[in-house]
Symmetry: C2
Subunit: 307 residues, 2 copies
């Protein structure tokens, strides 16, 4: 599919993309950058990559990236801008082709568009924003899994200046990794993710924090059952990563949170006033929606196991 691909960031996502490209023979040469030089050294020793470094410009100055066709940036959202600046410098020094396709994996998109505009002074036609909706309990390169994206959604957020063939190439790459590719504008993506991912994390963090700060302290957890177990699982997620996401997707998160608080106040008032009808109607709608979602999950699982 590509002769030369560069992956920046070999965490769980970057590592799984690398492994998936290898497993599916989607590139001739793979290069990688990771701030942890030992990860790069091991990947070279294991013949997973042709070459790599902990600094993009250091690697680029060896001229190995002159024919690079595609860069996938798989670093935390807040680190993307700095990477884009380095890519711009490398292109201006002809260490990278000026038409190299640049893609990412960040879970927020509006901020990446803003960063790209700030760095390049425009939205590059060859910058294709992508977000794989996949993850795992464990993180890091050692937890990589070439089949991580299989039957998972991959959202591409085309922008107004994108070249269609560039978007197609990134879509084809992800399809080859097993993902189911959908398209939506960046602002829509950020709203959907705020509701389905970012808000649940914030609400779960808040309740677990409340229990932890209770005067009975952690003893109270002894009486918690399966409902709390499931509800609070995401409270164990990385504080620094989620801090970054909430600030990166601030507008959409705050808008979703406003609507949530309105609903919560309505439920509170229904409880205060013994308004049985309102409570029952809300719970019924939620139960039906959750059961619909449960059926989607079962379908997805079947798809994953059958292919």
């Amino acid at each position: 599919m590509f002769n030369n691909i560069l992956i920046i960031g070999l965490g769980l996502i970057g590592g799984s993309i690398l492994q998936g490209i290898i497993d599916n023979r989607l590139a001739d040469n793979l290069y990688a950058i990771d701030f942890d030089k030992s990860v790069i050294d091991n990947a070279i020793d294991d013949k997973l990559i042709t070459n790599g470094d902990n600094e993009l410009l250091t690697l680029a100055r060896t001229d190995v990236l002159k024919d690079c066709e595609c860069i996938i940036i798989a670093v935390p959202a807040f680190a993307v801008k700095n990477i884009l600046e380095q890519i711009k410098t490398a292109i201006s020094h002809k260490l990278l082709p000026s038409d190299v396709i640049i893609s990412d994996t960040a879970s927020t998109k509006g901020n990446i568009l803003k960063d790209a505009f700030a760095v390049f002074g425009k939205l590059p036609p060859n910058l294709v924003l992508a977000h794989p909706i996949a993850g795992a309990e464990k993180s890091g390169f050692m937890a990589r899994n070439g089949a991580l994206f299989k039957s998972h959604k991959l959202i591409i957020c085309p922008h107004d200046f994108n070249h269609q063939n560039t978007v197609d190439k990134i879509a084809t790459l992800w399809q080859a990794l097993g993902a189911s590719v959908d398209f939506m504008p960046a602002d829509k993506h950020d709203e959907v993710l705020a509701l389905t991912s970012h808000l649940p994390h914030l609400l779960s963090y808040a309740l677990t924090f409340q229990l932890a700060k209770d005067e009975e302290s952690l003893n109270i957890f002894r009486y918690a059952g399966g409902g709390f177990r499931d509800f609070s699982r995401i409270s164990a997620s990385s504080p620094i990563m989620w801090h970054d996401i909430f600030l990166a997707n601030k507008q959409a998160v705050l808008k979703g949170l406003d609507n949530y608080q309105t609903i919560l106040n309505q439920l509170k008032s229904a409880i205060e006033n013994d308004n049985s009808d309102d409570l029952l109607e809300t719970f019924e709608i939620a139960k039906n929606a959750r059961e619909h979602f449960g059926r989607l999950l079962v379908e997805k699982e079947k798809l994953k196991n059958s292919s």
Copy 2:
């Protein structure tokens, strides 16, 4: 342990108590009441119970309950008061011994104390409130499991007029069913359960409702990942049962919700103002608490498998 036990309500909990008593040979004769006569008829046919009916007073008039030593009420919280009234009538007609031990399984306790006081004009010394912190995905008598309570917490809420030996007998019964028995006052119980069980359900219902009402309707669920899956699982719980619980435990739920809303507003303001320190500190405390809770769960699981 007892010669004669009467169980009122043969749902998942009542059925599992019945099965556990049989499996552990804790009573000579078992009697049961359930509003569904076919459940009673089948239980008699299967020789699980000596006798039963769908009406307590009808069964009591056959004189089989004259030596009954213990009644366990395993019906929804809102139906307990009516059962207590029937028990009072049966005692006054000498169809039940006046010193019969009465216990329950309701997940809220302050309201049961209030109901008992309203029915008996005092808190009966032989009324012992108990709440098994256990459940299962499925409900109903057919889903019963004699080991359901094994290694689960069972909270007894003694009241000021309880006879200690009566409390001890109920504690011994539950320990024989495998439960780990703790004691706390009813108001403390209701506060703890509001935080660890009732509030998570309310918060989960609210977010699933919000997504279901979004203009993109249910399509939005296609982009939801594992975080939302776990967070929203309890939104599929029984609307009528949870409606009952929120109204039965109104004061404690509203108090917990007030505190939760304060925390949520602090997080909201931290996001609005890019207050990284506050966000990170809150998330760190929550993450540590959730990991502590995770370790408790692992310990419990070990205990369950080893004994």
